[in-house]
Amino acid sequence: MKTVDYYEVMGVAEDASADDIKKAYRRLARKYHPDVSSAPGAEEKFKALGEAYEVLKDPDKRDEYDTLRKYGAFAGEQFSPPPDWQSRAEFSEGGYTEVDPRQFSEFFEAMYGRRGGVGTQAGGPRSRGFAFRGEDVNARISIGLAEAYSGTTRTFSLQINRLDDNGIPTPELITLKATIPAGVINGQKIRLRGQGQAGIGGGENGDLFLEVALVHDPRFSVDGRDVTLVLPISPWEAILGATLDVPTLGGRVKLTIPAAANAGQKLRLKGKGLPGKPAGDQYVVLRIVVPQAHSEEDRELVRKMQEQMSFDPRAEMEISG
């Protein structure tokens, strides 16, 4: 079993005061709280932090931890407690800790024991006698833009605790099929009631929450229900105006480019974004693509344009010439 250096986890010195430890905990908890941080690995760091704080904030546990350190039980990175080691921590009585000790490391367990496999859960404790509501499970589900537009049916598998024949929560691979309606957006939360971890002692199951992650589409960028398409046009289409076929999520539509259109100009196709109440819009941003002159005739033509059309794109900068 690997040892855990709680002082290192909390970034405090071995002689840190209780106040320093509390401050360090608060600072790191704000930084790595899974509900606040989007940094990768935040959840693991937060759990490790909770475990470290559980030990270091409690004078008795900290004293025991320090004693074991001095005793040399941590030599060689491997932890082996003294043969007659008995922690004063009483987990079986409950109410000893507010955090969920099921999340703690083997190392913690070897030192302080375990609280009967039953703890308070993330959504707040729920107790009817010895019944506990199961934990919620959070997962992400990747959905393509076309699927988000028209809806889809997805089958997915998750490892979730279910009660076995003896009523013991046991990990099981569960396959679920869910119909995702048209018009889900990126970050959309979906609740599957009762599909989380099994409750204990007759407690309700937790819920499964899915978060939609829209897969990048090569053509459309997405912001909420609005989508944006960058549309390449030629200089003459920009100058003269044109009616063009443009792709939308629902198929091709005609779009009229006004005469004297400019690069970066934004046109709106109302209601052509992701469906909803109200539906989003599609924006079309114009990109003028400049053609290559492939022959001397081409170049001659452009020179003629240059002579005939008095045009100075830098007129407003007063640096022309």
């Binding site: 606040v36 993330a122 869910a178 309606p181 979906i190 960058v230 941003v285």
Partner: protein, 110 residues
Amino acid sequence: MNDKSVEIELADDSTPYEMRELCEMCAVRAELVVEMVEAGILEPSGSAPAGWRFGVRSIIRLRKAQRLRRDLDINLSGIALALDLLDDLDQMRERAQALERQLQQLTDEA
């Protein structure tokens, strides 16, 4: 066959749940829900606690609020502020990402 079709609920603007159901699902007392509504953490439809209706969004925010309160020791108005700022941050991130991609498409070699 293990394939099980399950009902889903979207976190949208619909508000199907009464106070009693919300309290049961989140294992909280009604008094706390009232305080959370007053702090602006939860925004039910309807008026007066008896007429309030909550949606999946409320369930998610309430559970988040419970975790933040327990883990970070923030009071209810602080939690309301944090949740609102986190929502704003998500929106900003998505907007920034969309604009970055558009800029890339505008400047890329065709």
